[in-house]
């Protein structure tokens, strides 16, 4: 997989396919991005499992915190990692010890570890890096258009009238690759010295 530019169909397939998501680094602090994403995905019907050893014994939006991936005690479809790039590898190694393996490992916006990704892909796991599932879900369903964001999708079909708790359709026509050329440039700039 080219991790600089994901085709929309790759992301769409993942978000349509997974049901349970273990979020490593989920925070109970309601201004942290992980809290935003956890809440959004739970509202869209995903079976969310918060992983954070510092909060065991408490719950996040009614879901009990679990100390580690190994302690979930049931299969999960996707592991969503809210950790800095430098802390990714141990999480991937832990995920690779799960049985059955998760189908997807997703690293959050700003997080990228190509060696960890290669290891997971060698085990047949799909990998997404430096993206947010909330943003991608909002983009592919065009919900994010409400904020003036370029969803890079078009549709001449009448969408279903929105109701509370509904899952918006992700089946819109995509108009470009998973990433604009401009955003790739930003990633490159970030890696340039000075």
């Amino acid at each position: 997989m080219n991790h600089d530019a994901y085709p929309d169909n790759y992301i769409r397939g993942i978000l349509n396919g997974v049901k349970s998501i273990a979020m490593v680094g989920a925070s109970p602090v309601n201004v942290r991005p992980s809290y935003f994403a956890f809440k959004y995905l739970a509202e869209r019907g995903y079976d969310m499992i918060p992983i954070n050893p510092g909060h065991v014994g408490k719950t996040l939006l009614g879901k009990p915190f679990v100390a580690s991936l190994a302690e979930i005690g049931r299969p999960v479809d996707m592991v969503d990692v809210f950790r800095n790039s430098s802390h990714i590898m141990p999480v991937i190694e832990e995920a690779l010890r799960l049985d059955p393996l998760p189908r997807v490992i997703w690293m959050q916006l700003g997080a990228r570890d190509d060696a960890a990704a290669a290891k997971a892909e060698a085990a047949g796991i799909k990998v997404v890096m430096n993206r947010c599932p909330k943003i991608e879900y909002g983009r592919l369903s065009s919900e994010i258009s409400w904020m003036g964001v370029n969803s890079r999708t078009l549709s001449s079909k009448r969408p279903p009238a929105p109701t509370q708790g509904m899952r918006l359709s992700l089946n819109r026509m995509s108009v470009g690759g998973g990433e604009t050329a401009a955003s790739d440039r930003a990633a490159k700039n970030r890696n340039e010295p000075g």
């Binding site: 169909n9 964001v149 370029n150 401009a182």
Partner: protein
């Protein structure tokens, strides 16, 4: 569906718009409402806390405006956009996210006179200091960089002279200085030039002009290219530091490559208040659907009229980058191959008096202070749009006393040429 990239004209008609889910209305409805009902208290709290996407209050966002925003973002190749009340409002909102009191930005000397005034006087009262550079001397931008420089601002096609800016060269300087490049793309529109493709990080528009195109609505748009790393060195606290207005959210960390557009909305538009009326957004949107058709006609007419003027005995010179002998012709061929725009200036051998007489003798051209209308327009910048500049600044910005500015419309070019011919001969 495969990931096919539609053409510009398809995006101009479709991007951001889909049939209304409730009624099936195919044209974008005008959501003429101040406010939007919440599902429940938790939904309301999620929206106010930026945890959910959705509508609260039209000062912050509106579904009609959102269609305009996504459409312009798509046409410019940006990640997101924000519609505001005017082009001037767009500039204030952008600079509020980038500059703290005492900071500086570098601006091209060749700018719309209203922008020169805004930067020189209004921004000074906010403690935002402008340093001027000359787009004909690219190194002057580099020389103007100081540790307090936070942005560089240029126009893609500069008002009033229609000169073309070397966006790539200035983008290289901006990147080296670690600051975003802001390009005002009003006179080109994304049909002629897409500044993001040439290294712009932020694009601003007076959508009043060619985007809307019919001279009926004032509006502005800000486009986030998604290219700038706001967290790299802590220079942009509105984006990289926890915001007390939102209980400590860091906008760049949370919103990634469209964080600048979000900052403009939730810190700029929300707190400064220059919201665009949904009715105006609808009129601008309707205009954009025909942008490719209109823009080509504007440019084809402008070129024919520039050629006519260049050969007329009463005309001293024509500043139109689309003419082969023009100083900016090679830049025009690189950046705007479909046409060099439709706003340009010329000077008359008879000087100031001949300019005044020409303006009063024209019958089809309208004498007014706007550009980018279906109708052809004429103005004498030295006595109007640029009147608050001193004589030296007028000449430097391309608005000397003998200069007349035209904005060529989409009428039949033969009729426009005939009108100019009778007015020049009168």
């Amino acid at each position: 569906m495969s990931d096919r990239l539609p053409g510009f004209s398809t995006l101009a008609v479709h991007a951001g718009a889909q049939p209304d889910p409730t009624t099936g209305a195919r044209a974008t409805p005008i959501y003429q409402t101040t406010s939007f009902v919440f599902n429940d208290a938790d939904h309301a709290a999620s929206l106010f806390g930026l945890q959910s996407f959705g509508n609260i209050y039209t000062r912050i966002g509106n579904p009609t405006n959102a269609v305009l925003e996504e459409r312009v973002a798509a046409l410019e190749g940006g990640t997101a956009a924000l519609a505001v009340a005017s082009g001037h409002a767009a500039q204030v909102v952008v600079m509020q996210q980038l500059l703290q009191p005492g900071d500086e930005f570098i601006a091209a000397r060749k700018l719309y006179g209203g922008s020169i005034n805004q930067f020189t006087h209004a921004f000074k009262s906010f403690g935002w200091n402008v340093a001027w550079a000359d787009p004909d001397d690219i190194a002057s931008f580099e020389r103007a960089v100081t540790p307090r420089t936070k942005a560089i601002f240029v126009e893609s096609i500069a008002n009033p002279g229609g000169t073309i800016t070397d966006i790539e060269a200035i983008s290289t300087i901006a990147r080296k200085a670690g600051v975003p490049l802001i390009v005002d793309n009003t006179l080109a529109s994304p049909y002629l030039i897409r500044p993001i493709d040439h290294g712009a990080d932020i694009v601003v528009h007076s959508a009043t002009k060619f985007l809307g195109g019919h001279g009926n609505s004032i509006a502005g748009v800000i486009v986030d290219a998604g290219t700038f790393d706001w967290s790299k060195d802590g220079k942009y606290p509105m984006l990289c530091e926890p915001r007390p207005e939102y209980h400590g959210i860091k906008l760049h960390e949370t919103f990634g490559n469209f964080a600048f557009a979000i900052a403009c909305r939730v810190l700029g538009l929300r707190d400064l208040g220059p919201a665009l009326s949904p009715f105006n957004a609808f009129l601008i949107l309707t205009g954009i659907e025909t942008l490719p058709l209109r823009m080509q006609k504007h440019c084809d007419n402008a070129r024919a009229i520039a050629e006519f003027l260049a050969s007329h005995k009463a005309v001293a010179s024509v500043s139109y980058a689309g003419l082969p002998g023009d100083k900016y012709n090679s830049l025009a061929r690189k950046y705007a191959p479909k046409g060099a725009g439709a706003v340009f200036t010329f000077s008359l051998k008879g000087g100031y008096d001949a300019g005044v007489s020409l303006v009063s003798n024209l019958k089809l051209f309208s004498h007014l202070a706007n550009v980018g209308d279906t109708r052809s327009l004429v103005i004498h910048p030295a006595s109007t749009t640029h009147s608050q500049l001193d004589d030296a600044a007028k000449i430097k910005s391309g608005a000397g006393p003998d200069v007349v500015r035209l904005s060529i419309g989409i009428e039949d070019k033969e009729d426009l040429i005939a009108d100019l011919e009778q007015a020049l001969g009168a």
